[in-house]
Symmetry: D3
Amino acid sequence: MNATNFNQPLDSAVTPRFCEPATFNRLPLQKDFKGLDIGLVGVPFDLGATYRKGAALGPGKVREMSRLIRKINHATRINPYELCNVADVGDVPINPIDINASLNAIEAFYRDLHAAGVAPVSVGGDHTIPYPIFKAIVDPKNPIGLVHFDAHADTLDELCGTRVNHATTFRRGVEDGLVDPKRVVQIGLRGTRYGDDDISYSTDSGMRVIDMEEYEKLGRDKVIAEVHRVIGTGPTYVTFDIDGLDPVFAIGTGVPEPGGLSMRDSQVIIRSLVGKNLIGGDVCEVAPDLDVTDHTPLNAANLLFEILCVVSHSIAHRKGRLQA
Amino acid sequence: MNATNFNQPLDSAVTPRFCEPATFNRLPLQKDFKGLDIGLVGVPFDLGATYRKGAALGPGKVREMSRLIRKINHATRINPYELCNVADVGDVPINPIDINASLNAIEAFYRDLHAAGVAPVSVGGDHTIPYPIFKAIVDPKNPIGLVHFDAHADTLDELCGTRVNHATTFRRGVEDGLVDPKRVVQIGLRGTRYGDDDISYSTDSGMRVIDMEEYEKLGRDKVIAEVHRVIGTGPTYVTFDIDGLDPVFAIGTGVPEPGGLSMRDSQVIIRSLVGKNLIGGDVCEVAPDLDVTDHTPLNAANLLFEILCVVSHSIAHRKGRLQA
Amino acid sequence: MNATNFNQPLDSAVTPRFCEPATFNRLPLQKDFKGLDIGLVGVPFDLGATYRKGAALGPGKVREMSRLIRKINHATRINPYELCNVADVGDVPINPIDINASLNAIEAFYRDLHAAGVAPVSVGGDHTIPYPIFKAIVDPKNPIGLVHFDAHADTLDELCGTRVNHATTFRRGVEDGLVDPKRVVQIGLRGTRYGDDDISYSTDSGMRVIDMEEYEKLGRDKVIAEVHRVIGTGPTYVTFDIDGLDPVFAIGTGVPEPGGLSMRDSQVIIRSLVGKNLIGGDVCEVAPDLDVTDHTPLNAANLLFEILCVVSHSIAHRKGRLQA
Amino acid sequence: MNATNFNQPLDSAVTPRFCEPATFNRLPLQKDFKGLDIGLVGVPFDLGATYRKGAALGPGKVREMSRLIRKINHATRINPYELCNVADVGDVPINPIDINASLNAIEAFYRDLHAAGVAPVSVGGDHTIPYPIFKAIVDPKNPIGLVHFDAHADTLDELCGTRVNHATTFRRGVEDGLVDPKRVVQIGLRGTRYGDDDISYSTDSGMRVIDMEEYEKLGRDKVIAEVHRVIGTGPTYVTFDIDGLDPVFAIGTGVPEPGGLSMRDSQVIIRSLVGKNLIGGDVCEVAPDLDVTDHTPLNAANLLFEILCVVSHSIAHRKGRLQA
Amino acid sequence: MNATNFNQPLDSAVTPRFCEPATFNRLPLQKDFKGLDIGLVGVPFDLGATYRKGAALGPGKVREMSRLIRKINHATRINPYELCNVADVGDVPINPIDINASLNAIEAFYRDLHAAGVAPVSVGGDHTIPYPIFKAIVDPKNPIGLVHFDAHADTLDELCGTRVNHATTFRRGVEDGLVDPKRVVQIGLRGTRYGDDDISYSTDSGMRVIDMEEYEKLGRDKVIAEVHRVIGTGPTYVTFDIDGLDPVFAIGTGVPEPGGLSMRDSQVIIRSLVGKNLIGGDVCEVAPDLDVTDHTPLNAANLLFEILCVVSHSIAHRKGRLQA
Amino acid sequence: MNATNFNQPLDSAVTPRFCEPATFNRLPLQKDFKGLDIGLVGVPFDLGATYRKGAALGPGKVREMSRLIRKINHATRINPYELCNVADVGDVPINPIDINASLNAIEAFYRDLHAAGVAPVSVGGDHTIPYPIFKAIVDPKNPIGLVHFDAHADTLDELCGTRVNHATTFRRGVEDGLVDPKRVVQIGLRGTRYGDDDISYSTDSGMRVIDMEEYEKLGRDKVIAEVHRVIGTGPTYVTFDIDGLDPVFAIGTGVPEPGGLSMRDSQVIIRSLVGKNLIGGDVCEVAPDLDVTDHTPLNAANLLFEILCVVSHSIAHRKGRLQA
């Protein structure tokens, strides 16, 4: 298979945007992973959220808003559908009541995807989901780095007496040896805190925390340089909790925190990752029923595309498709 | 093929309602019409509307709300997926700017569907669309009857200098010999009028008009008897302009008129059509952006299912599947 | 002047509904009262409301939703623009802070209107406004009857230490000799109460109170007969607090009470007033910001038209225009 | 303590409705159960819901909308605050992630309440919550009857592999001997079904199922008679799944089903329970973020008050406070 | 006529903002163009939009939100009503179904306006409308320059097989010799693209394209300098597609693209045009039903005022009213 | 009493955010002022607003959104509940109709609070409320300085013929000798103006006005320096009209003006006040019904917390609690 056979989004000049069932980026829904480089996965899971659930509706709505996404990245000129074979591979069959069954289902789905050699770019679901994803696709012998956009560190030890939820994800990942904290950069942290040590695990374990105070002090260019320095050349995953954005961009999320990142800055930082060694990514915590204007899932759809662009470029590079 | 091979909706106990891209009633999207008895079609067309457009977004949103629809009709016990092979056959590729190109595309799509022996149950789109559908699927030698739910008669001669739009549909159908006015019943008419003769073509041509005044006077049971009397045993099509409902059930439509039908009454009337000779149907004029509560498309999804039930029963009868 | 010169609404086939600044029923805005029979008046006043204000925005939004209203009453066939010369005469220049200045401004505006021989059909504003209107247009020698739709009796003596507010209107009217309680019928009362005597002034003074319990017991036809009996042939005013409707029809109001009237019933009751001696009317308590679906002002615009129809018929009768 | 010392709602003439933190019916928040007859309890639990969660936000929003509720029932003239000492006793401290911990917390809270001799009237939360409530307050030697308003029977054996969720509640209650199926009446059932046997447990176990078809056929008066017949004089609990209402009254719920009960009918049926032997009740499945118009929690607040009225009357009767 | 006779907005201290039918900036509605310098025109046209229509409702809603606009520009101190005689001249009578009839109606309306010596400042309507406006008011011997705010270049050759739509406007203008591409500056371009050559006509024809990447690199001051350089002293028109703004400022538009201009930057750039040779302007693509918060039309109303200020200043200069 | 006895917010790990009636910051509701250092006060007053009322609903909704606020300031590390004893002291019992009675009630409430030695941090209510607050808590011998965030100067002499309303507050304060204009800084002014002299009283009286033009020119750091210079070491009050924010952060307010402050900048400026001599503060003009996304009250809740942090620090310093 070569690029001429890759899946293509529906052409809006032939099939207008309002036509046909919504899939991610108007790609074919392909439940058979064969031949794919990248699978766009929905993970409609919100059993790990502690306040307002609703992120289980995220994948459906992001698909809907991705009707607005075209093929080519305005800034980087990347066309992911020339570089990789991409499909909407559907949703993980979540159990809406049993959190453990759901976590197992997520892990199993990504194991299959990984076994088929397909890199995942996902839409959550709450921010618990990177943990089972990491368990499925990361070899502890080769832990990954993270570019982690978020208002919160998600490195608590437990919350409400549970150890796997949307506030503990990355601590669990480090403890399991799946995430190399030295290659993790957390961007956008802010918001009131439960305790002074809310983010101490992040810093103690060696993660590079760039909270909004430092973000502003450094400026975007230096932040990008720092991101590149931290993740280096090792395998890296991009995880975007939509609440990393200021609530003006993402009111439709469980725990919005004023004073956050802009879409523009987020787009530019993600675009800067062209050339990095990327293995996948996700956009999480989109709770569409909390935003009747559909602005939050619109931004999520755009971020999904940005992540897809840089991941597809990385994969094309690894597969030797970028020569000349 | 027999019922054991018919398409089935996704099982919500295995694949929860929030999972997977939204198709009509969670059925497979099947662009190849072969083997189907009924095709659920989206017609995202709103170029025939004269005030507030937005019905082009109807099919996408009704698909989304049909996540709530299960398999079996509570009242009639009909399971359409045991009676017929049904699929979401996707949307007509509308031209969003060129009304004539769009009308031609609709007609062509339904010609293909009809040629494949597939009966259509559709989601509009504005209420212009029955006209090109009739042109595609009705033989003037055998004109059809209509059960027509609406606040408006849609039998003007022209509006805004145009002759094919959402206010002239059924007049055109009669003039082309596709609709037998003697076998048409219009239910729910009401609302202020432009002129005293707004609905005169309906009555002059012999349609049975049951406006809300008469509806209330007769009561639902006698209305049903009258519907049965009018349509008789000939081929009949069910067309439901969502504005036939009172606006409390359907505020998300271009021209809502207070004082209309209830969902309950509409459900019961449609259910009464079991045993009639039905060839298809549609639900039109759902403009989801005018109803942030999603109530209108929820009702549309339920009406779509009601129409599917009676049409599937009719087809199963014609195909001899109902014995014993 | 005769009917051929009467103001006419913009013709939607020439000037589509979305065109031109919104006036009541798309009529000319005519600040000079000369030659008018009926003035449609906006009274953007909400200083008499005790919980959620916002009815000051009512006239603007009802104008907007009246884009949907055509010329002829579906049921009665009345075309008010053939019977009377009607205009949108604009809004009373309310003082948004000073309640007494506002009440005086209302009274003064209606005095001028009345002096010009123009009957008012108004859009509030909270339900305080009938009181200053009555003071302006009613001669205590000839007190009026009322057809009063409401969830509440509005006959308290005082509320929050004030005596002129939206809960005391009709008691003040009776005390001032402007309203004849024997010719008042209150329809739709219900809702929890502050005290057992909430509505005692109504009954004690001789008003005919038809609460929802009795409404249901009598049925609409007998209610209509009772309305006719109570108001008789004397001068009568129709006042419609939008919260008389069930909240499914009017969630955009300050004090919604479940279990109320339907639009259908309200329409039919108002239509029954053809032939009565009507001097004006109003629709009050529409607070559009409390209903993002615009359903409440849609219903208000329809009720305004219904009241206009019967008032115009009464005036035409009095002016001898109905012969032949 | 006598009635002169009972808790009273804030007086709106002194403390307007928009003043002070929202509690149920503007009652004192009283965490000490001593001296109370009835506790209004919030149960912010939605871990038993299978599609759209969000009912955990129900209690907070119903409190907010109960600012509109006054003291006296319009139809029955019951003033619950003269009959019983009532308080908002706060919310069960739900665990937002661990379903079993939450169910245990609910049971424990109601055990304490029950031990203090306080009858519960609750706001959910999804419709799983009656099960742990029954476990806490019902003696299997004296199983209770139910007046159960709902679109769904909630008597499945399991859903998604789990046995305690919002679709199995009343089967569990019967199996545990807490609910006497012969004294259960289910009102309002309708909606598409997963299987023909969705409600077979209800009928097989002897519950009296009045679906919407039968409801309409019988009419409200005969339904009321049937309710009275079924529950008899034994201890009875009123459980109201808000989706028993037609979605026009309750779009803010996880699984709305068109063609349901009206608020008016629901109010009248509940009011008919004056004189019955009532031990408590609840309103469940209010998911406020699904209804930006706040209509659903408004209705829930009104239903809560209706249930409070009849329960308070029953308790006052049992406590001998009704003589004279 | 001199400034003392110019139309003035209603005085909010006398006629509060919620009073009177909404016109642009609370100016008189004046259908007779005589004596006017500037006409504020509504163009309720959305037949050129390819995805979500709804901009036909723009003029009505912008009028409504312009209730918030006062008389004097905070930053420039321009009072347009001292400099020019301005009126709301109403809306072009669009045909809601026939695109060609509508385009002709637009052109005809502006020809009349132009013949009367009145400069237009307009509210769309989709972004097709500048083309018929240019045909009406521009002499090909003296083509105009443009300050064009937009997320998209609108210089495609065709879309969906049509050549006049909201994506081809400025190409058509250049081809007809009405627009001098060398004097066009396009600001704010961004968003995913259909093809690499989406904006090639802009650059090939000599337009100055400042996409968001360059905008950010240059900074606002240099962008302003570049705008001034490009448009020079020739006749220039300001066209503002509201989607040039970031979606946080304008979610109510058909094709929002994250990462765009701020209101602040847009205000400052427009204000910088004082002293330029301006002939008119427009704000387009406001689709109010897509933004229930009314934020988008609020911003449109403010941008309309900003454009009015600089155009009125330019006209006053040309008419010699600025001396002293 | 010492810090170990200070009131603490409910612990979200024990009592999740959705549990319990909403109070400011989940603090106890304590109507007895004894032992408190700071009272969080609701002032549900909107009788001083001139366009869209609705700010009376502000305190209730800000309480609701403050469920999201934790205990510790991310940037300053201040935990106000370690420094001061804080409670939600409830709402001023506003009269919803009588503006003077309400102003007197506000003044009386704060006199009591002040007499008890409790500093107020308040949530309005419209921006009239600082005036009666100042009358209650300021000794004219020791007038206060202000850090005043706003789009408008609020220093008109009168509006609509009234002298105490939300546009005259700070002029009245100066005239009464309660506010020292030399120690007032107004930040964020912008928006169209009624007249050239709208803000002349501000500048004439010696206030330091930093409008958005100057804000942008200076940059945030120099603005902060200027704020510190102006207020010096004297007693200072922080008053935040939510419309000081750009409407993207606060569309839910009566008079939004595009081009304003960001939450981030506002947070940083308030945080800079650590060490200043602060006596209280407020957040005003939150009209929640104008923002169905709840974004405005979310930001208000965050600003309330920011003000609480710096005020609590100042009080702790004055009370000698900061040593070591």
